[in-house]
C-alpha cells in the first residue's frame, strides 16, 4: 500500500473523469453529474487516506520534508542540459492546499446546474483545472511546478471564455495579462535559482538543479549564482520584491466584485476559492523558505499596510448597502487577515493564516451555496428540518469567528500576534471593528431579505446537497474544537523555516 502512487492518482483521476465525461453524449446531464460526483468522492477518499498516513513528526533536516515522492524524467534536452522532471511529493503546506481544492470541486459541480447548456464542457474544464491545481500544489520540482502553473491559467482562461456572460470584458483580459506577467516573473525567478543552486548527482558530479528541496538548503548555493546569498552582488532583494508583487497580484487581481457584477457565481467560486489561493501558496512555499533574510525587514512593512487596508476595507464593509458588495468586501477582509497573519512571521500566526485559508474556503462555499444556488422552486411549506435551521446560524457565527468555530482559532491567534507586536490601541480598534462587522453581517442579511431565504425554515435540501454540506459543517465545528491535527501537519513544514 505504501508504494501506491497516490499523488499521481490525485492528479490523474480528474483527467480520467474528464475523458469519461467527454465521451458521454451531450444531453445526459444526470449521468455527467453522477460521474463527476463519484470521481470527486474518489479523490476525497484518497486525500483522507493521505491524512491518516501523513508523517507529522519533527525532523531536524529537510530529508523528510516531502512525502509520497514520485519522480520520472519527462524531457531531457542534452545540448543544454535542461531536464523536465515529473516530480511530485506532499509537505504540510501543500497538503492543506490540495485538501482545499478537493473539498471545493464537488461544490462547483453543484453550481454548474444553473447553465444547462454548458454542463458538459464546464465539468470537463473543472476536472482539468483541479488536476493542474493539484499538480501545482504537489510539485517538488520547480520547472514541473511552472508547467502546471501555466496550464492552470490556460484552463481557467478557457473556462471563463466558455461562459456566456463574458463577452469582451477588457478588465478581465487585463487581469489575465497581469497573471501571465506574474507567471513570467516566476519563470525568471526559477531560472535564477537554477543558475544559483547545484545538486550533487549519483556519480558525484555537480548539476544545476530545479528541485525545490535543493533551493531550501543554503549550502547548495554556489558563490557565483545571481540569487545566491554567498554572492555579494546578488539580485535576491529585487527578486524578493518582484515575487511579493507577483503573488499579491495572484491574490487580489481577479477581485470578486467584477464577477459579482457579471452575475456568474460559478466563476466566482472557481476564481476566488481556488485560484486566489495560489498567491498564498507561493508566499508560504517559496518566499518564506528561500528568502529568510528579507522577511524581518519587509514583512512588518506589508503587515502595516495590511492593517491600514483592514481599517479601510472594514469601514467599506460597514458602509456597503448591498449584499454582493458586502460579501466581496468580507472576502477581501479575510484575505487581508491572512496576509497580516503571514507577515507577522511567527509559527503561530503563519499556521493560523494557513488555517484561515481553509476556513475562508469552507465558509464561503456554504455562504455562496445558500445565497445564490439554492433554488426558490424547491420550497415546500411543510417539512422543517432541524438541519436547515442550524446551518445558517453556524455559518454566521463562523464568519465572524465566535468561539467553538473554526475561524475563531485562526482569528484569535492572528489578533494575539497583532497584540504582541502592535500598540494596544490598534488591537482595540481591530476588536471593535470585528464586533461591528458581526452586527453588520446580521443586519445586512436581514435588510436584503436574503436572511429570509437563509433562515427560511420551510426550504428543503435535496439528499445530494445534504451529503456535501454535512462534511463541511462538521469540519467547521471540528476544526473549532480540535485544530491540533491540522496544525501538526502545517508545523511539519513550517518549523524548518520560521522562528
Amino acid at each position: 500500500m505504501n508504494n501506491l502512487p497516490i499523488i499521481s492518482l490525485l492528479i490523474f483521476l480528474p483527467i480520467a473523469a474528464a475523458v469519461i465525461v467527454f465521451c458521454l453524449p451531450k444531453n445526459t446531464n444526470r449521468t455527467i453529474k453522477t460521474v463527476a460526483l463519484s470521481f470527486s468522492l474518489l479523490s476525497f477518499s484518497a486525500i483522507v487516506w493521505i491524512l491518516f498516513h501523513f508523517d507529522t513528526k519533527f525532523y531536524p533536516n529537510l530529508s523528510h520534508l516531502f512525502q509520497f515522492i514520485e519522480k520520472y524524467t519527462l524531457i531531457h534536452i542534452a545540448k543544454n542540459n535542461l531536464i523536465l522532471n515529473y516530480s511530485v511529493g506532499i509537505d504540510g503546506i501543500s497538503y492543506i492546499f490540495i485538501f482545499i481544492t478537493i473539498l471545493t470541486i464537488p461544490f462547483v459541480f453543484l453550481t454548474i446546474n444553473k447553465d444547462k447548456e454548458r454542463i458538459k464542457s464546464n465539468t470537463i474544464f473543472i476536472f482539468l483545472l483541479s488536476s493542474t491545481l493539484i499538480g501545482v500544489f504537489a510539485s517538488s520540482d520547480m520547472l514541473c511546478f511552472y508547467v502546471f502553473f501555466e496550464l492552470t491559467y490556460l484552463i481557467l482562461y478557457l473556462l471563463i471564455k466558455n461562459q456566456n456572460s463574458f463577452i469582451d470584458n477588457k478588465k478581465y483580459s487585463f487581469a489575465f495579462f497581469l497573471h501571465l506577467f506574474s507567471s513570467f516573473i516566476f519563470l525568471i525567478f526559477i531560472l535564477g535559482l537554477n543558475q544559483s543552486a547545484t545538486d550533487i548527482l549519483k556519480d558525484g558530479s555537480l548539476n544545476n538543479s530545479f528541485s525545490i528541496s535543493t533551493f531550501y538548503q543554503i549550502s547548495s548555493y554556489n558563490p557565483s549564482g545571481i540569487l545566491s546569498p554567498f554572492n555579494q552582488n546578488n539580485f535576491r532583494e529585487i527578486s524578493f520584491i518582484f515575487l511579493i508583487i507577483a503573488s499579491l497580484i495572484k491574490i487580489f487581481v481577479l477581485p470578486l466584485k467584477y464577477f459579482l457584477e457579471q452575475k456568474n457565481y460559478f466563476i466566482v467560486i472557481v476564481s476566488q476559492l481556488l485560484i486566489a489561493k495560489l498567491g498564498f501558496f507561493i508566499i508560504l512555499k517559496f518566499i518564506i523558505p528561500v528568502f529568510p533574510e528579507f522577511i524581518p525587514y519587509y514583512f512588518p512593512m506589508i503587515a502595516n499596510i495590511g492593517i491600514i487596508l483592514f481599517f479601510i476595507i472594514s469601514i467599506k464593509a460597514l458602509l456597503s448597502d448591498s449584499i454582493n458588495k458586502f460579501i466581496s468586501t468580507i472576502s477581501q477582509l479575510y484575505f487581508i487577515i491572512i496576509v497580516i497573519g503571514i507577515c507577522l512571521n511567527s509559527v503561530e500566526s503563519i499556521s493560523a493564516a494557513a488555517l484561515q485559508i481553509l476556513n475562508h474556503n469552507i465558509i464561503f462555499l456554504i455562504l455562496f451555496f445558500f445565497l445564490y444556488f439554492y433554488e426558490k422552486e424547491r420550497i415546500s411549506d411543510k417539512s422543517i428540518s432541524l438541519y436547515i435551521r442550524i446551518i445558517p446560524i453556524i455559518l454566521i457565527f463562523a464568519i465572524v469567528g465566535l468561539p467553538g468555530f473554526s475561524s475563531f482559532i485562526s482569528q484569535f491567534l492572528i489578533i494575539k500576534a497583532i497584540y504582541l507586536k502592535y500598540h494596544l490601541l490598534v488591537f482595540i480598534v481591530i476588536l471593535v471593528l470585528f464586533l461591528l462587522i458581526f452586527f453588520r453581517t446580521i443586519n445586512i442579511i436581514k435588510k436584503e431579505n436574503q436572511i429570509l431565504r437563509v433562515f427560511d425554515y420551510s426550504q428543503k435540501i435535496i439528499k445530494l446537497e445534504y451529503l456535501i454540506l454535512l462534511p463541511l459543517v462538521i469540519l467547521i465545528i471540528f476544526l473549532g474544537i480540535y485544530p491540533n491535527y491540522i496544525f501538526k501537519i502545517i508545523y511539519s513544514f513550517l518549523h524548518h523555516f520560521t522562528q
Binding site: 542534452a78 543544454n80 496550464l151 469582451d168 513570467f184 519563470l187 543558475q195
Partner: protein, 493 residues
C-alpha cells in the same frame, strides 16, 4: 571537382530529382497536349507532393547525417540539416503557391513547368556551395517567376522587353563579380574562398566590391518579381499569391546570407584578429539601438489594425531581439540565439501560412476579422491558438523550450543588459499575442462558417503535427540544427 559528392547517400537528392523528372514529363506533354487539364493539374500536384513527402522522409534521417569537412570543400552541393528543413518548408510553400495560382483562373501546361522551375531552382540555390551553380539557379528562378508574373499581370510588350533587358544587364554584373572573385581566389567554392582568404593576403577592396556586386545581382533577381507584383496596380486579386513568392525570396536570401556571408564575416574577424562585433563597440550600442526599435515597433504593433502589418511587425520584433542576442558574442550562446532566430522565422512562417496562404473564402485583412474564429471553425481556431501559444512560450510548446533554454543560458552568462532587454521583449510580445488570442476566442456577430477544403486541412494538419512533434520532443529540434550549430561553432572558433 566531383559533380555530386553525395552519391553514397543519393536518396538525399530524390526531391530534386523528382522535380527534374517532372519538368521532363511536363515538357513532353507540352508537345502533344490533348490530355484533359484536370488530369495534368493532378499530375503536377503528384510531382510536387511526392517531392515534398521525400523531403519529409529525409528530415527523419537528417539527424544521423553528419558531414565531414572534406566533403564540404570538394563538392558543389551541400546537404545538411538546415538544407533539409528549409527544403521541406520551401516545397510546402511552393505547393500552396501552386494551388493558389492554378485555382484562380485557367492555366496552361507551361505554367506548371514554370512553377516546377521555381521549386527546383530554389532547392538548388539553397544547397549550392558553388557561386556558378548559385548563379544558374538564380537565373532559372528569375525567369520562371518573371514568366509567371507576365501571365497574370497584363504588361505591354515594351515593359516586358525592359524587364528582360535589365535582367540580362544584371546577369552581366553577376558574371563580372564572379570573374573578380575567381581572379582573386582561384575558386568559386564558398569554403575554398574562405580557406584561401585565411592563408593568403588578398586585396580586400576588390573582394568587397565583387561581393557587393554579387549581392546586388542576387537581390535584384530574387526580389524583383515579387516586389513588382505587389506594387503593380492591375491584377489585384493575385497579390496575395505573389506575396508567397516574396516569402520564398526572403528564405532564399536568408540561406544565401547564412551560407556565404557569415563565413565571410568570420574570415574578416580572423584576418584582423579582432571580433567583428567589437569594432564599433557593438556590444554596448546594439542593445540600446535595438531596445529603442523594440519600443517603437511594439507601439506600432499595439496600435495597428491590419493583420499583415501586425504579422510583419511581430516578426521584426522577434528578429531584433535575436539580433540583440547575437551581439552577445559567446559561441555556445550564439548557437542558442541562432536557434531562437530560426524558431522565430519558422513559427512566423507557420502563422503566415495558416493565416493568409490557405485559400479561404474569408480574408483576414484586418485584425477584427479574426473575431470569433474559434467558434466559426474549431480546428482552425485551435491551430491558430496553438501557434500563438508557441510564440508566447507556453509550456509544452517548442517556444517554451527555446525560451527557457535561452534564458537559462543568459542567466549563466550574467549579461544584464541583454537579459533585461530580452525579458522586456518577452513581456511585450506576450501582451500582444495574448491580445490576439483574446480576439480569436472572443464572440461577435460574425458567425460566417469557415469551410476548409481537403487540401487546406492537409496543409494545416502537416503544420500542426510538425509543431506538436517538436513540442513533445524538443531534443529533435536541437538535433536537427546540430550540424548547423557545430558548423557555426567551427566558424567562430
Amino acid at each position: 571537382m566531383k559533380a555530386i559528392n553525395l552519391l553514397e547517400s543519393f536518396n538525399y537528392l530524390i526531391p530534386e530529382c523528382i522535380l527534374l523528372l517532372g519538368i521532363l514529363v511536363m515538357s513532353s506533354l507540352l508537345i502533344k497536349s490533348h490530355r484533359s487539364s484536370t488530369l495534368i493539374k493532378y499530375l503536377f500536384f503528384i510531382i510536387m507532393g511526392a517531392s515534398f513527402i521525400f523531403s519529409l522522409l529525409n528530415l527523419g534521417t537528417a539527424t544521423n547525417y553528419i558531414i565531414t569537412e572534406n566533403k564540404i570543400k570538394d563538392g558543389i552541393l551541400i546537404i545538411d540539416n538546415i538544407h533539409t528543413i528549409i527544403r521541406s518548408l520551401l516545397l510546402i510553400i511552393i505547393l500552396i503557391f501552386g494551388i493558389n495560382y492554378l485555382s484562380k483562373s485557367e492555366f496552361k501546361i507551361i505554367h506548371l513547368i514554370y512553377l516546377i522551375g521555381v521549386a527546383l531552382s530554389s532547392l538548388i540555390l539553397i544547397s549550392s556551395l558553388n557561386l556558378f551553380i548559385s548563379l544558374l539557379a538564380i537565373e532559372i528562378f528569375y525567369l520562371s517567376s518573371l514568366f509567371l508574373y507576365f501571365e497574370k499581370f497584363e504588361r505591354n510588350d515594351a515593359s516586358k522587353q525592359k524587364f528582360l533587358l535589365l535582367g540580362f544587364f544584371v546577369t552581366a554584373i553577376f558574371f563580372i563579380s564572379l570573374v573578380l572573385i575567381y581572379g582573386l581566389t582561384f575558386s568559386i567554392n564558398y569554403f575554398k574562398i574562405q580557406d584561401i582568404f585565411r592563408h593568403n593576403s588578398i586585396n580586400l577592396f576588390t573582394f568587397a566590391v565583387s561581393v557587393i556586386l554579387f549581392l546586388f545581382g542576387f537581390i535584384y533577381k530574387v526580389f524583383l518579381v515579387p516586389v513588382r507584383s505587389l506594387r503593380t496596380s492591375n491584377g489585384e486579386k493575385y497579390k496575395n499569391e505573389f506575396s508567397i513568392l516574396l516569402l520564398i525570396s526572403a528564405i532564399l536570401f536568408f540561406i544565401f546570407l547564412f551560407r556565404f556571408l557569415i563565413p565571410f564575416f568570420s574570415m574578416l574577424t580572423e584576418e584582423s584578429n579582432i571580433q567583428l562585433f567589437d569594432i564599433f563597440n557593438w556590444k554596448k550600442i546594439l542593445p540600446i539601438i535595438s531596445s529603442i526599435t523594440i519600443v517603437i515597433s511594439s507601439i506600432f504593433l499595439i496600435t495597428t489594425e491590419k493583420t499583415k502589418t501586425f504579422f510583419f511587425l511581430s516578426l521584426l520584433l522577434n528578429l531584433i531581439n535575436s539580433i540583440i542576442l547575437f551581439s552577445y558574442f559567446n559561441i555556445s550562446f550564439f548557437v542558442l540565439s541562432f536557434n531562437y532566430f530560426l524558431f522565430t522565422i519558422c513559427v512566423h512562417l507557420f502563422f503566415y501560412i495558416a493565416l493568409f496562404l490557405c485559400p479561404f473564402e474569408i480574408k483576414f485583412t484586418e485584425l477584427k476579422d479574426l473575431r470569433n474564429v474559434f467558434h466559426r471553425s474549431k480546428i482552425y481556431g485551435i491551430i491558430l491558438v496553438f501557434i500563438i501559444l508557441s510564440l508566447i512560450g507556453f509550456p509544452f510548446t517548442l517556444g517554451f523550450w527555446i525560451k527557457v533554454s535561452l534564458l537559462k543560458e543568459l542567466f549563466a552568462s550574467v549579461n544584464f543588459i541583454v537579459l533585461i532587454t530580452t525579458i522586456a521583449n518577452f513581456i511585450i510580445t506576450t501582451f500582444i499575442y495574448f491580445k490576439l488570442i483574446n480576439l480569436i476566442t472572443s464572440k461577435s456577430d460574425n458567425n460566417q462558417n469557415i469551410k476548409l477544403s481537403m487540401i487546406n486541412i492537409l496543409i494545416l494538419a502537416v503544420l500542426l503535427i510538425g509543431i506538436i512533434i517538436f513540442s513533445i520532443e524538443p531534443d529533435l529540434w536541437f538535433d536537427l540544427f546540430y550540424v548547423v550549430n557545430s558548423s557555426i561553432e567551427h566558424l567562430f572558433l
